[in-house]
């Protein structure tokens, strides 16, 4: 953060880093009930089930609040470790709602609404004194009609900047059943973000069902992402809704260029069955689709990643994400190879700033002047 002005209040700082994937957690599962009505309020809400076991039980161990509450549930710690720790000027929150695992579409819509009312009250309300938390409208794609109503209800909220769907879905997101949702989102200038979800859901996590190990499950996220990506383009979603934008979060990106080469090549011969595609498939990608960086691929030779960035036109499509507080968190200063300044600025800030209409400067707040660590202490941690 640099100072944009030297004297006079309020001081403005340049926006340099936008983190597109931070997860706000409930302090307790029952917190959600307060925002629900009967008969759903008294029911057990289906929750994310960890059948594949990630390192650290899925979270950064140093992100656990001292009071024993879940990682990502304490806004003060998020301020310390994300706003101050990595210097994020804005974060885009992605609630881990696991909505897609709820088979009952009405119950799913009720739970989605509760997540939204909860986050408006907390992370976007009383926790958001600095205005640097932005978030995503949780919708239940298995209930398109209610999803549209939820978008209509919340569009225009100053801190809700996109809608959110899970990677596990009843069908690929280009299918017509979802079009009313994308129409509503586009009409309100809200991108749709897709985030990886629980392995338990309407479809298994890979095209060949359930793998054996977490290692496979996590490596293979791109298989579902590819399917949604190709579907969205092939079904003409971006011809039908020219203002619609889609964001793929946490599914990797190094696979992007080869799959688009393949689709472009196939389109030359197979175009006639989808004549609404007026341009090469990869051109829709550049204009309508963005990818978050985390977990960034780490080839042995870091130059290879830069070559991949060039092939995928990272300066237009990539947006930084840390995935705080999860175990595979990426630190913006350490996770990337050395990049040209302009490319770095596009990935760390400008692509997200343009997509979410965020300002180029923001008002400085007290978090800008407080240091995150106390250097005077000698013994800084002990445990038995």
């Amino acid at each position: 953060m640099e100072e944009a002005t030297t004297k006079g209040a309020p001081r403005e700082v340049t926006v340099n880093l936008i983190d597109c994937d931070v997860h706000p957690y409930l302090k307790h599962p029952d917190e959600l009930r307060e925002y629900m009505r009967e008969p759903w309020r008294s029911r057990t809400i289906p929750s994310r089930r960890q059948i594949f076991l990630p390192p650290g039980d899925g979270r950064r161990l140093d992100a656990l609040p001292e009071d024993g509450s879940p990682a990502g549930s304490d806004p003060k710690l998020v301020e310390k470790q994300v706003l101050q720790g990595i210097g994020a000027d804005y974060v885009i929150l992605i609630p881990s709602s696991s909505i897609s695992i709820i088979p009952d579409p009405v119950f799913a819509a009720e739970v989605a609404q509760a997540w939204n009312d909860w986050q408006i009250d907390t992370w976007l309300g009383k926790y958001n004194w600095h205005g640097r938390f932005k978030s995503s409208i949780v919708i239940a794609p298995q209930n398109p009609e209610r999803a549209v109503r939820e978008i209509e209800r919340l569009a225009g909220h100053p801190h809700l900047v996109q809608i959110l769907v899970g990677s596990s879905a009843q069908a690929a997101y280009g299918k017509r059943q979802y079009h009313p949702i994308w129409e509503a989102a586009a009409r309100h200038n809200l991108p749709a973000a897709l985030h990886v979800e629980s392995p338990i859901g309407p479809t298994p996590p890979t095209p060949l069902g359930y793998p054996t190990y977490f290692l496979e499950f996590h490596t293979l996220y791109p298989t579902i992402y590819m399917t949604h990506l190709v579907s969205l383009i092939a079904e003409g979603v971006f011809e039908k809704y020219p203002d619609f934008k889609f964001v793929f979060v946490e599914g990797g990106s190094a696979w992007l260029a080869p799959i688009m080469w393949r689709m472009d090549k196939d389109w030359r011969g197979a175009r006639a069955e989808a004549p609404w595609l007026k341009r090469r498939p990869s051109e829709y990608l550049r204009d309508h689709i963005r990818f978050s960086t985390q977990p960034i691929e780490e080839p042995e030779n870091p130059r290879h990643l830069l070559q991949i960035f060039e092939m995928m036109e990272a300066e237009h499509v990539l947006m930084f994400a840390s995935d705080y507080p999860h175990w595979d968190f990426d630190d913006p200063k350490r996770a990337f190879p050395r990049m040209p300044e302009e490319l770095k600025r596009r990935i760390f800030c400008e692509n997200a700033r343009e997509l979410y209409n965020l300002p180029a400067t923001r008002r400085a707040d007290s978090l800008d002047s407080i240091h995150a660590t106390d250097e005077s202490q000698q013994i800084i941690g002990a445990s038995h």
């Binding site: 161990l61 140093d62 595979d328 996770a335 013994i379 800084i380 941690g381």
Partner: protein, 135 residues
């Protein structure tokens, strides 16, 4: 090379650890089954506070499907991305050039420890043994 008094032996019982700042560097000192180890508190991967990680064992295998659990407590696992390090020499368990710096740890009588520069302020009695970090 300098010496730093980490604490009394009684303050670092088996299965405990202490992270200290010496010359501006954070170092984790561990007591694993009565043996002391010390490592930089910085993971060579993405600079996570490594010494906050879990001490675990080493899963080894001679053939797929067979797992043997060895070296309980001697593997330090990064609190972020789960990389495993051999606490005795700071190398990663998978083959790599990444390595965490390790330090020698000694136990000495307090009387001797007090003669070392900079430790006078540490409250020890003559009977105490202290844990000394060589850096």
């Amino acid at each position: 090379m300098g010496k730093y008094v980490v604490g009394k032996v009684s303050e670092l019982p088996p299965s405990s650890r202490r992270i200290v700042r010496v010359n501006g560097r954070e170092i984790g000192v561990f007591n694993v089954k009565g043996k002391y180890y010390a490592l930089r508190n910085v993971c060579p991967h993405q600079s996570a506070p490594l010494c906050l990680g879990e001490l675990t064992g080493l899963a080894v295998s001679d053939e797929p499907g067979e797992i043997e659990w060895t070296r309980e407590g001697e593997i330090l696992r990064c609190p972020w991305h789960g990389w495993e390090f051999d606490i005795s020499n700071g190398s990663t368990i998978f083959q790599s050039k990444a390595r965490v710096k390790t330090y020698e740890v000694q136990v000495e009588k307090a009387a001797l420890a007090r003669m070392i520069e900079g430790v006078e302020t540490y409250p020890v009695t003559v009977e105490d043994e202290v844990v000394i970090l060589e850096y």
